[in-house]
Symmetry: C2
Subunit: 246 residues, 2 copies
Amino acid sequence: MANSASGDSVVDRVVRVIEAFPEGVTSLQLTELADRAELPLSSAHRLVRQLSEHGLLDLGAGGTVRLGLRLWELVNRNSPTLALRQAAMPFMEDIQQVLNQNVNLAVLDGWEALFVERLSRRGSVANRARIAGRMPVHITSAGVALMSHQPRELQAEYLEQFHDPSGKVTADVVRHYLAEAAQQGYAQLAGVVDPDTWGIAVPVLNGKRRTVAALGVVVPLAEMRLQALVPALQTAARGIGRQLGD
Amino acid sequence: MANSASGDSVVDRVVRVIEAFPEGVTSLQLTELADRAELPLSSAHRLVRQLSEHGLLDLGAGGTVRLGLRLWELVNRNSPTLALRQAAMPFMEDIQQVLNQNVNLAVLDGWEALFVERLSRRGSVANRARIAGRMPVHITSAGVALMSHQPRELQAEYLEQFHDPSGKVTADVVRHYLAEAAQQGYAQLAGVVDPDTWGIAVPVLNGKRRTVAALGVVVPLAEMRLQALVPALQTAARGIGRQLGD
DNA sequence: ACACGTTCTACCATTGAACGGAAGGCTCCT
DNA sequence: AGGAGCCTTCCGTTCAATGGTAGAACGTGT
């Protein structure tokens, strides 16, 4: 139902163009972009030109397309997580100082944990790569901490549709994770990237006692001392919550 | 030249909607958004609904409009400054550790310095608010450091159009700043926000020896020790440049 | 040096998607 | 109960969006 051929609105197309960049890729050739966005070349060209006139995209010489600085600026200035990140940052720095561990902050989006902020451990190489990264709920402590404090109906819906493509984890196992985390008030899970690390996360509640985020650390197995880590995280999480208001 | 009345394309309107959020504001009523974007209410409504179906915006109950988490995610994953920030982060952490000062990283956009990353001084409150913030070239050390290492023509063009609305600074003063910074290899300027602080910044050169960013610190006057700060910054800047390649 | 493949850019007649005024709901005041 | 302010939906009109086509600009292999 488009102006002519292929059933989509201008907005659909704009979205597809922005979404066309694969994770971590900052620059695309026009042809490849048109390909990925499933647009006729001439249409892609026109859209990209229009968007780059406004600075949302950057159309370099020779058809190189990047996201525009202006877009990055606008989105980061008015990000929906701005208040959360601002409230959390000082506490995350405290945790990093006191515990010397990787600290991260995640929110729930769909059935995934979306990492909105992260401080890397002093001396470790930058794992900042994963800011704006996603992980399925059931493989991260942040995900489990978030889901375990959601309303019953949402948890039920989640477990209903749960399916682990690798087949390693069943819904019952996840149910157990959630129950345990809900009871303990924190979630702990073996690291996904590095099997010798553990993740520990606690929920962050806003003024209305709704779970809006999870605050977590990733620690090497050798330094795994729950009695030190959990109280620190919980204290910080309460601090963040108080700062947030609502 | 729009489908009917008021001379702008769909893309123009989408851009206006995203740009409608004032700095630091994360949430807008539909009516206010329509007003700011100069769109008829029904058109604004249609656009917002379309965009929120794709997750670029978030249309809450009661007409509350926010930027979508998905948009934030996409932009941060594929940000044009991703490589720069990743390369710089470890070095910025080093600076923060060793000097215990606020560290920031800026790029030149138009005649302004756009801050793309910032680490706050240990113990100080979050000044992270200003990530994605802009400042005119001539009032920040980062801006001067950036501009002083640009090609002659660009500097000329900049000085040509330079005008300080407050009337405090003349083009000649700025010319002096730039010359000094170019000669010394670093820029130092009195703080704008707090008059008792100083900013010091050095250019970051990529493999082709093009100035792509400025690395800077903001220090209290009492701790202003150039002989310690400048070498540390320059070393870090070289490290970043090496990491960047090109 | 030439021909070929690939990519970017520009043009323009056709047509259906975008437009927005108006009317209907809804909530929250007074 | 009435009104003000907001969100949402509907639908006939109209012109902006569309994309095939063609040409320009590289780069590459023979």
